[in-house]
């Protein structure tokens, strides 16, 4: 096999034993890589009833076949584990040089089990990996850790992925950072590292990466490179995803004030246009990406002068309008705090916004929030709340660090009614009620509330469907998106390049040029279906059923008040009809369980036996 290294590293953190395991061609063709491998690994190694913070949880790092090659945006890896935030399938996908380096070192992935008895980090030094003492780095921020490890190992070309102080404290939304601005963001993978006393994974790879057909791959990549400079990627390259702010605001689908509203009176102040004018210092690119969409802000004045942070739509939306904050300086600072201490900006923003609504409704006293003036619009309070949450400081910090679901259960008093999440995963910056196909996709996502599994918001914002209602046509839109995105997350390439590939057949062509393995576009989609079902089976193992595929009460019970989408809410019957159409189309039961027949069709025989309905 080309592209793939053909082997992965198994690490037992208890015994500190390291072993080399084979990656079979069967595994490669059935599960492709990345998300596919992650799903397979978790299914094979994490039994029902496992506690996410226990040594029994498995932390799997997987690249795809295209990492280390010239295929644009191919340098990506995923980190997979049972999530301490959601209790179901957890993972994040991350760019940077790490994936290329790991493949160059001769590994497709690393699977860690157990728990180290003292702070440790894994150094994958080509074919001679070793566990090393990390006590010197314990307590350091993500950025400090990266710099220190490179310095101590005497090689600035080493790539490091580290958790921050938040991960050390098992903050449930803790993330993993690499190359300063890239994260394994959601579902608390940093917290799983913390529970294993694993401070970082560092990698040095000096090997060649071989592909099936280098000349043709080079030609195809050059062609894709050209397409990446065209209209399909313009939004990312020029304003970046913050270009969404004004558009969503106009459409009444920009979540603000903890999803109470869909527009923000200060949208212009925090728009992509404004940010480009006054805050964006430079636009950087991920390793091996010809698009270049990373807008990095620098704060020039005020109390946060000197702050540098990479700000995208989600971070901007959830730390800005969602918290009622219209100050780019404070928002940029909040992002920097998240990045350095190591927490997810999306979850962080939603949790603080929830707390702000609690304060608004008098459900949290001044004492509960450690005396902070935690009201909507207070940027300084936002920054302080994020800091405390990331360090589990004070009553507020300890409450918020649990994630919005648990925090609202702890506070009670009806605060769970406006804890905006699905399966415990905080909702991303897409309206609950005025982008309804999006909401359906958020709820069927195996990771919890996010659109990265299906991209189903696209039909809503492109005007291809009526976004203010649901019907039985939406299920197909969602699951077709999910199957395609599962492939993108398994190869792994960047979703921002999805527009430059004309079809799944072109993705199949890329796969064949890299690996030398023949596969058609259809077979690729089938693999995507298999991968998605595999991840779903893991969730079923952990108790996920139809009841977990619903949006929060606010979606159904509170009609929107914004002029532009006045009265918008989700009709329960319509939602059920759309959800039914999703399950039916997937070949699952109406309770959201994959049928035995479907699983056998996909070759998931063990799973058919274990969870098939």
């Amino acid at each position: 096999m080309k592209g793939y290294a053909g082997k992965y590293l198994k690490v037992d953190l208890c015994s500190r034993g390291l072993s080399t395991e084979t990656l079979t061609e069967g595994m490669a063709k059935d599960y492709i890589g990345g998300l596919g491998f992650g799903a397979r690994t978790l299914l094979d190694t994490v039994p029902r009833g496992t506690d996410p913070f226990s040594p029994q949880n498995v932390l799997a790092w997987w690249t795809g076949p295209v990492s280390g090659t010239i295929l644009p945006t191919g340098s990506k890896f995923g980190v997979f584990a049972l999530s301490p935030l959601t209790g179901v399938f957890g993972f994040g996908i991350c760019s940077g040089g790490f994936a290329n380096e790991l493949k160059s070192a001769g590994w497709d992935g690393v699977v860690l089990t157990g728990k180290s008895d003292k702070p440790t980090y894994l150094f994958v030094d080509d074919g001679a990996p070793e566990l090393r003492d990390a006590s010197r780095y314990w307590g350091m921020t993500t950025w400090q850790t990266e710099d220190a490890i490179k310095e101590d190992l005497g090689d600035s070309a080493i790539r490091v992925a580290a958790m921050g102080p938040a991960g050390e404290r098992l903050v449930r939304l803790a993330n993993i950072t690499t190359d300063k601005n890239r994260q394994v963001g959601r579902s608390g993978m940093g917290a799983v590292m913390g529970s294993k006393n694993l401070k970082a994974v560092a990698v040095r790879g000096t090997g060649d990466v071989e592909v099936g057909n280098l000349d043709e791959l080079m030609k195809f990549s050059a062609e894709l490179n050209e397409r990446c400079q065209g209209p399909k990627t313009e939004k990312y390259r020029v304003y970046g995803t913050p270009a969404n702010i004004l558009v969503h605001n106009r459409l009444g689908c920009l979540p603000s004030y903890n999803f109470q509203k869909g527009s923000f009176e200060r949208a212009e102040d925090v728009s992509g246009e404004q940010m480009s004018k006054t805050h964006v210092k430079k636009i950087l690119a991920c390793t091996n990406c010809p698009v270049g969409c990373d807008h990095v802000n620098e704060v020039k004045d005020g109390p946060y002068a000197g702050t540098v942070a990479s700000v995208d739509y989600e971070s901007l939306g959830q730390l800005g309008p969602l918290c009622g904050v219209g100050d780019l300086n404070a928002i940029t600072k909040a992002v920097e705090v998240c990045d350095e201490l190591g927490v997810d900006t999306i979850s962080g923003g939603v949790i603080v916004a929830w707390a702000m609504e609690c304060v608004q409704r008098g459900l949290l006293t001044k004492d509960d929030v450690d005396g902070i003036d935690l009201r909507f619009g207070n940027g300084d309070a936002l920054v302080e709340a994020i800091r405390r949450m990331s360090l589990k400081e004070g009553k507020l910090g300890n409450l918020l660090a649990e994630g919005v679901k648990r925090a609202s259960e702890r506070v009670g008093k009806g605060s769970d009614k406006f804890a905006i999440h699905c399966k415990g995963m905080e909702w991303a910056a897409y309206s609950l009620r005025s982008l309804q196909t999006s909401t359906l996709g958020f709820c069927t996502s195996i990771r919890g509330a996010d659109y990265l599994r299906s991209g189903s918001y696209q039909v809503d914002v492109a005007g291809k469907v009526d976004r203010l209602r649901l019907d039985a046509s939406r299920g197909k839109i969602v699951y077709e998106g999910e199957n395609q995105y599962a492939i993108i997350d398994s190869l792994i390439i960047c979703k921002f390049t999805r527009g430059v590939y004309s079809s799944m057949n072109e993705l199949a062509k890329a796969y064949t040029l890299v690996t030398g393995l023949e596969i058609s576009g259809q077979e690729l989609v089938k693999a995507g279906e298999r991968i998605y079902n595999a991840a779903k089976c893991f969730n079923v193992r952990f108790g996920s059923t139809r009841k977990d595929d619903y949006p929060p009460p606010r979606a159904f019970d509170e009609p929107m008040t914004d002029d532009v989408v006045k009265g918008a809410k989700i009709d329960r019957r319509q939602y059920d009809e759309a959800l039914d159409s999703y399950y039916d189309g997937r070949g699952w039961t109406r309770d959201g369980i994959p049928t035995k027949a479907k699983l056998l069709e996909l070759g998931l025989t063990k799973e058919a036996e274990e969870v098939g309905a």
Binding site: G68, T69, I70, G97, N100, S104, A157, K180, T206, G207, D208, V209, E210, V211, L214, M218, A222, N225, C228, Q229, K281, K282, I283, L284, A285, C286, T287, N288, C289, P290, V291, G292, D294, V296, E298, V308
Partner: protein, 164 residues
Amino acid sequence: MALSEQKTKRIIVCDTDKCNGCQICEFVCSIIKEKTTNHKKARIRAMRIEPFFNIAIACRKCEKPVCERACPKDAIRVLADGSIEIDKDKCDGCGWCIESCEFGALRLTFDGGIAFTCDFCADIGEPQCVKYCPKKALRYITLDEAAKESVKDVLLNVIDRGGK
């Protein structure tokens, strides 16, 4: 170098405003020169200095190359176009040239430990990294052209702001 050659001496110039750290130049170089993907075998080197500085550097075709003078084995020869040729038989991998080059333009091969540097894709006739740079940050131009580009940028900035 004769004036006639000086006038046409071209080097790979990197616009640090446009360079965004993608490293694609490195991957392309390794494919073209080594027929494999391994950015550590590239002749051009992408450098990043936090938080905003990015550049890709290759051999500068120095007029009085330090590497040539530094080599204890006389393994380095300067060609007519200003580029460097390293005699594989004479080179013993001491690395003195690598240390002495202020631009980090030389590297040691992994196998055999022989020094190598950019030859500007002499066999193709045009540096391929320049061709594939997605943001057109790399140009293969004379230093005089590079100087004019810099001045033009500054002037356009002034004009844009309504200066005289």
